[in-house]
């Protein structure tokens, strides 16, 4: 068969084959390595450890601003709720009492910062 009669579709085949090889290399053989990650990307169990550490440090220094800044690195919607839940869960599962207490103290301090709705007396 003449070269021209066979058409140029082999080029498309080559490109597709190349893309497959390229993706195989990029995703499997040599994927992008993350070595400079942020705390928000941590696995859940490590996030739990991170929170315990934040709470333990808070108990030591009493710096709520710093504790909040650290908790915000974990990128969670409601940091108070997450810390309070972890404290309860830790106690329920028989974890370290000291760590649960530290989490509880932090949760309490965070909870006091949440603005309470104002109750105003109305004249009858």
């Amino acid at each position: 068969m003449n070269e021209d009669e066979r058409g140029n579709w082999y080029l498309l085949t080559g490109v597709v084959l190349g893309i497959m090889l390229g993706i195989l290399f990029a995703w499997v053989i040599s994927p992008v390595e993350y070595v400079d990650t942020a705390p928000e990307s941590l696995k859940d169990e490590f996030k739990d450890q991170y929170r315990v550490l934040i709470a333990s440090a808070y108990v030591a220094n009493g710096d709520l601003v710093r504790a909040k800044a650290r908790l915000e690195l974990l990128d969670e919607a409601d940091i108070y709720l997450v810390v309070a839940e972890q404290a309860q869960q830790m106690l329920a599962e028989g974890g370290s009492v000291e760590e649960a207490q530290a989490l509880g103290r932090l949760a309490l301090s965070l909870g006091q910062e949440i603005p309470q709705p104002k109750i105003t007396a109305t004249a009858e």
Binding site: M20, G22, A26, S41, L42, F46, V59
Partner: protein, 145 residues
């Protein structure tokens, strides 16, 4: 002296190469064109796999944290140690930061903290942890008579 012909102007190179690949405008063999097509595909695949849609790691461990986060992690351990004095717990917590020895981890954090301008109080706490780790290390290394 015979001058080599200028095939393509630089800016038109990719377009001209594609035209050359698709049409039989020069003596390039079918096999060579096929190999070039594969190479273009590989480049596109790498671009997609490394830049456009790289694998995202969302389940990372503390040892992959950026150095400033690792330093803060060490500081938190030092702060907690300052209160509870639990060396075993501090060593256990430092272990998640990687294979390096606990002393090495703390020293690395101190070096970064000094460069980054951490407060003296923070530096002191990390130095205290480092000193305590050093004492334990010396005790472990000292052979019994």
């Amino acid at each position: 002296m015979k001058q080599a012909p200028i095939l393509f102007h630089n800016s038109q190179m990719p377009l001209a190469l594609l035209r050359c690949l698709w049409q039989n405008t020069n003596a390039m063999t079918r096999r060579v064109r096929f190999i070039i097509a594969i190479l273009i595909g590989v480049a596109l695949g790498l671009l997609f796999g490394w830049v456009i849609n790289p694998i995202e790691y969302t389940q990372t461990a503390p040892n992959t944290l950026r150095v400033d986060y690792q330093t803060d992690y060490v500081l938190m351990i030092a702060e907690a140690f300052h209160t509870d004095g639990d060396m075993a717990l501090a060593v256990h917590r430092l272990a998640v930061l990687g294979d390096k020895s606990p002393e090495g981890r703390v020293l690395q954090a101190i070096i970064f903290a000094e460069q980054a301008g951490y407060t003296d109080a923070d530096l002191d706490m990390m130095r205290n942890l480092s000193d305590e780790l050093q004492i334990i290390q010396n005790v472990v290394e000292t052979p019994e008579p």
